[in-house]
Symmetry: C2
Subunit: 366 residues, 2 copies
């Protein structure tokens, strides 16, 4: 990447909130924060969500509380958000909590857990079921507060150069996948690779990689994977939902007036809800275009799903043995998900199922 060009575009991002201010705004805000993102501006659905949160805070406080948004790498390393926010280098970050599970495995619960729940179930657990409170009990040790920042929905299991028909087909498969999903896949024979954004496409094109998992149709389409890998698999059992995080420095938060704290809370929830609506809308449209390009959608074979389910739960048992905080949150989450799934089966899933029958079966409309 051209570093100067990157810095210029970053500078525009940093002043975006100011440009969007109403003409009657105060001459200078009483509080100015800096938000460091893990994400580049090119991931526009994700990145714009943090700008919209900042804009909402600015509007809600009549220009008195300004959050300046900086793209990934501009101020601090993209995967160094937890440290940079915790030590006060920046007051706030936009990131994926699970990047930091090396500090404490409890960080994983802030984003996605293999074989947990869909976005509705996950967000219910976080916001109403007590999940985020449990996460924040751990994050307080790092001087951090986690505010959920919206969800991608169930992600895709990625792009594969060849069809995957059995567990045998995973043996030796070089795949770009990280986190707990990468650990589970490695126990099924996959060779997980960590490859940064710009290098993914050429690696898949040249066969350095056999497969790549990223997000879903809207983000994946931009990176062009469909041009070099024909098979698009569903679903990502490792990310049945993917929540983003705002990390906030706990001292900086405590120093805010109450109505600025309220602005942060409600702007995060509002822009977070909008993020999922936007992903749902853009993913649906992008999928239409990908199908028109001849992309072959496949579902992971049951043999692989069953083995991944077994490996996932064995991994959870190991991690629970090693970490009391992991076990506490894990047990709470999965108890919640079991009950949530029983209800979903007779509500949204039941309707989705018959809606699918009607659509696929062309049920008569007259």
């Amino acid at each position: 990447m051209d570093r100067r060009k990157f810095l210029r575009s970053g500078a525009i991002a940093a002043t975006g909130a100011t440009l969007a201010a109403p003409a009657i705004a105060q001459a200078s805000p009483s509080v100015t924060w800096r938000l460091a993102s893990s994400y580049p501006k090119s991931l526009d659905t994700l990145f714009a969500s943090s700008e919209e949160m900042a804009k909402a805070v600015y509007e809600l406080t009549d220009g008195q509380f300004e959050i300046q948004v900086f793209a990934g790498g501009e101020l601090v390393p993209p995967l160094g958000i937890a440290d940079s926010v915790g030590d006060g280098t920046v007051e706030m970050g936009h990131t994926g909590s699970y990047f930091y599970m090396g500090k404490d495995p409890a960080f994983a619960f802030g984003t996605a857990m293999p074989w947990s729940g869909n976005a509705r179930q996950y967000q219910a657990w976080m916001h109403e079921g007590g999940g985020n409170d449990l996460i924040n009990e751990v994050l307080t040790n790092f001087n951090l507060i986690n505010m959920p920042a919206g969800n991608t929905g169930t992600q895709m299991a990625g792009w594969y150069r060849k069809e995957i028909n059995s567990l045998e087909d995973l043996k030796g498969l070089k795949m770009r996948i990280g986190g707990l999903g990468g650990t589970v896949m490695s126990r099924m024979g996959v060779i997980p690779q960590q490859i940064a954004g710009a290098d993914m496409y050429p690696a898949l094109e040249r066969g350095v990689l056999d497969a790549i998992e990223f997000v879903g149709p809207a983000d994946d389409e931009k990176l062009g994977f469909y041009k070099v890998a024909k098979f698009y698999y569903a679903p990502a059992f490792w990310e049945p939902s993917g929540e983003l995080s705002y990390f906030i420095n706990a001292d900086a938060h405590a120093a805010l007036p109450k109505h600025f704290q309220a602005a942060l809370k409600h702007a995060s929830r509002s822009s977070g809800a909008q993020l999922l609506h936007r992903y749902d809308t853009r993913n649906a449209a992008a999928l239409q275009r990908l199908l028109a390009e001849g992309v072959q959608v496949r579902t992971m074979p049951e043999e692989i799903l069953r083995e991944s389910y077994r490996q996932t739960h064995m991994l959870y048992a190991e991690m629970s043995d090693q970490s009391a905080s992991f076990k506490k949150i894990h047990d709470h989450m999965f108890d919640f998900m079991d009950k949530a799934r029983t209800f979903t089966n007779i509500s949204d899933f039941a309707f989705d199922y018959v809606g699918y029958q009607a659509q696929q079966g062309n049920w008569p409309k007259s």
Copy 2:
């Protein structure tokens, strides 16, 4: 109902926002609005959501904008919200948009449409797909602005004294059901009845009604239907999602300072998102209790679903012939839903499906 007791509890609701104010709040707010609800306080999940919205607005504006919340019937008739808000009797209402489809069929789209989409798909259409803008083009004729207020999720098809095994079993069935769902059911032989809240349970108990549809496990459990009707059917094809509405007087909204408008917008979105999380959490817990009481959950037979699908689309064709605004919004919504469903099938539905297989099939965890 004891009217004095009702008024007393209403008075507490009206001052609830004041009691929750921070100690340092201003002596008197600069703007005070009254919100009239269609709902009684006893529907606590729904009703509390409007109180939480008002509390958020109060906190966001540091006590400068107070919205006083009044329960259904206290200020204006529960189903008279559109008129009362439009003519400025109150500045704001909390209601179901579809109650007012007699004014214009476009009001129906603000709540639920038979055989449309689940809550994720519906909210994506409303907030990101342009749906709410289309609805507000019509509501402006009534001096109203619609702000989506959160969703119940896919509702249940209700409580039945006898099993429903075929279309024949619907003939002459006396059922409490209204709106477009009632029209579709009447074309399949059901005799729809409109029965008010407190009268529903005794009517079902005495056999004046054979069936009742209401909301979902959490709300239904409170009304005790499971004690007198054993069979609980899924899903409500007529309410695959149920969105609540805030109606706002357009003149009153235009007169607000911009940051008060921002407070209304983000407080509605934030408390609306929370409403769905709360329904999901409470419905899952209530279902566990209902199952323990011996409730028999059933899925509507395919014969009935197919016929309801046909009748629904024939009704839409008739309504589109009669109303250009209905046709415009209908075509926009169902085009969106077709694409959304195609994507859901390979994302959340695909995961829900395998999650269900794993749970029901007790896939090995070690």
